[in-house]
């Protein structure tokens, strides 16, 4: 960077000579800062975690190398798999609702058949600015049996108080928080993708006499399918890592949220209350594997569907 500031013909000459070298070296120069941090704060911890996961430490015998014993244990650990099953249920419930709303609203906003378009666009996005922790606090209050408006309304009209924290309702209660948080974010992504579709297509279809809705469904929707697939994958990855919401709701829903409610919660508990760092690392890796497999399988199906 220093050579930019430098002046004088000698420097200019030297710079000209460096062009060829630069073009080959430049990408590495641009990449270096990111890659160094990536290696130090991502690759190294991962390798370290893997190293941890093949050892076992016992109070008496110290730490010893146990090959894949921790993984074997994880594969047969009911606590771990109940968390995975729960999150698959959660994903099937939450992702279609959230992304369906995102897509619907993005199409409505993009078609322009609505008043106060930018007002809605901006206000739907606002929950994204609220940290997940605070969103969980807010909804935790809202769900409350004494000071929550839902319970108050139910009491006022003589209905039984809704229970947001039993084994039937806990997942929808958490799914609602996640939808509230991220619907607008996904909507903005879809909206930007819809807006990027060239307008000459629009004119052509208008000449055909196609209405705004046919146009939105038949022409625009198929064009943003790749964007939709990406958002689904990101949502799956996010859902399978659920932690903050159940962790914070534990105090309100002690009966239904236990320390292995989600795999991340389980890994956290193992590491920081049980000091079982080795087994916790193995759990995290198996979770990573499950995330990768599910994303990959989804991508296979999605690609088959698209190329059909």
């Amino acid at each position: 960077m220093a050579d930019i500031a430098a002046t004088g013909s000698a420097v200019a000459k030297r710079r000209r000579r460096r062009i060829i070298v630069n073009k080959r070296v430049a990408p590495y120069v641009f990449l270096a800062p990111f890659i160094i941090l990536f290696v130090v704060f991502l690759i190294v911890p991962l390798l370290y975690a893997f190293d941890l996961s093949v050892y076992k430490s016992t109070l008496v015998g110290g730490t010893r190398f146990v090959w894949f014993d921790n993984y074997k244990r994880a594969f047969t650990d009911a606590n771990f798999w109940s968390g995975i099953v729960l999150l698959i249920k959660f994903s099937l419930m939450q992702i279609p609702v959230m992304l369906g709303l995102s897509l619907l609203f993005a199409l409505i906003l993009d078609s322009g058949t609505v008043y106060a378009k930018s007002f809605f666009r901006v206000s739907f996005f606002i929950p994204y600015a609220v940290p997940a922790v605070i969103a969980t606090l807010l909804w935790g209050y809202m769900y409350g049996p004494a000071y929550g408006p839902f319970a108050q309304l139910a009491t006022a009209i003589g209905w039984p108080k809704p229970d947001f924290f039993n084994d039937q309702t806990i997942l929808p209660s958490i799914a609602n928080i996640a939808t509230w948080e991220y619907m607008g974010y996904n909507m903005i992504i879809y909206y930007a993708a819809l807006q990027a579709i060239p307008t000459d297509l629009e004119e052509a279809s208008l000449m055909d006499g196609a209405g705004a809705f046919t146009y939105a469904l038949r022409i625009k929707l198929p064009m943003i399918v790749p964007t939709i697939i990406v958002t689904i994958i990101f949502s799956i990855i996010g859902s399978l890592q659920l932690f903050s919401e159940p962790y914070l709701l534990i105090n309100l829903a002690r009966n239904v949220i236990n320390s292995h409610f989600t795999p991340n919660l389980y890994a956290y508990t193992l590491a920081f209350t049980g000091q079982q760092y080795n087994y916790s690392a193995a759990i995290s890796f198996v979770l990573g594997g499950v995330v990768a497999v599910i994303s990959y399988v989804f991508m296979l199906f999605a690609n088959r569907g698209v190329s059909r």
């Binding site: 710079r15 209050y141 105090n251």
Partner: protein, 293 residues
């Protein structure tokens, strides 16, 4: 606006328009319910929180007292939390946006050995469960004596893989190869081309990544929860969650309920305001990128 411009006169269109506005209006009410709740709850006394309707004010307007409590409880630790949150988010937001921009530029505008492999590696990083990273980070940071320092939160947050992905896509579209080649013909070095030609053009993308990284850090909970243990280093998320837990379990006295709500209000207001202000040129950036596509 252009599709419908020609047919706005028809009665059917006006009806659909009102109907769809109504649908969005319903969702708007849902979106703002918790935000209304946090505002009304912050203005109540703790007993009123239990006895008055959640989505409306009570007679006793108690906001100033709650704010006073919020900023004086535990020797005013809350203002320290606010400052920490802002400081962590600003440093890691700026840092990660710069690094992601440089890397995205390399991926978008150069061919080099290992490009596809490196990019796949960066993309794959989003699949890593946070526990798989944060737990070993905790152990490593403790070996280097960085545990329970601001660095423990800031340094890992400088790596923001989605930013690289976004910048690559943005630069692909926003900066034509002709501009770069023209710069080369004029004899400018690669770094000079980047700093004098490219950087101005990718400013909107940079802003987007900065905002996303800033928000990611502002919202972060798991990393600071694990690597910090003294409350003077906490960000708001960890501090408030701790207060909330003690309010729910009753160990901190029931006073804390409304104070937690006041804390939630104070910590989300600046971000929402900043969002409303920055939203415009951020979205402008996204759309400008889209038009060129």
């Amino acid at each position: 606006m252009s599709i419908v411009g020609k047919s706005t006169a028809s009665a059917g269109f006006v009806r659909t328009r009102w109907l769809l506005t109504g649908v969005l209006g319903l969702y708007f009410i849902y979106t703002f319910m918790p935000l209304v709740y946090v505002i009304t709850a912050s203005t109540k006394t703790n007993p009123d929180l239990f006895t008055s309707f959640g989505l409306w004010f009570s007679e006793d307007f108690h906001l100033w007292q709650n704010l006073y409590d919020l900023f004086t409880i535990q020797k005013g630790i809350f203002s320290q939390w606010l400052w920490n949150t802002f400081y962590y988010a600003l440093v890691s937001g700026l840092g990660s946006a710069v690094f992601a921009t440089l890397a995205g530029y390399a991926f978008a505008k150069y061919d080099f050995i290992g490009k596809n492999f490196l990019f796949a590696l960066v993309l794959g990083a989003v699949m890593i469960p946070q526990t798989a990273l944060v737990i070993p980070l905790f152990l490593l940071l403790s070996k280097f004596g960085l545990l329970n320092t601001p660095w423990a939160v800031i340094l890992p947050s400088l790596v923001f893989p989605p930013g690289v992905f976004l910048m690559r896509a943005y630069i692909d579209e926003a900066i034509s190869n002709e501009i770069i080649d023209a710069g080369r013909v004029d004899g400018a070095g690669e770094l000079h081309i980047f700093s004098s030609l490219a950087f101005r053009l990718l400013m909107p993308g940079f802003t987007t990544v900065f905002i996303l990284a800033f928000v990611a850090s502002w919202n972060n909970y798991f990393l600071p929860l694990v690597v910090l243990n003294s409350s003077e280093h906490f960000p708001v998320t960890v501090g408030l969650a701790q207060w909330y837990a003690s309010a729910v379990s009753g160990s901190g006295g029931s006073l804390l309920f409304t104070v937690v709500m006041a804390g939630a209000l104070v910590s989300i207001l600046p971000v929402i305001v900043a969002f409303l202000i920055m939203q415009r040129f951020w979205q402008g950036g996204l759309q400008a990128g889209g038009v060129k596509a």
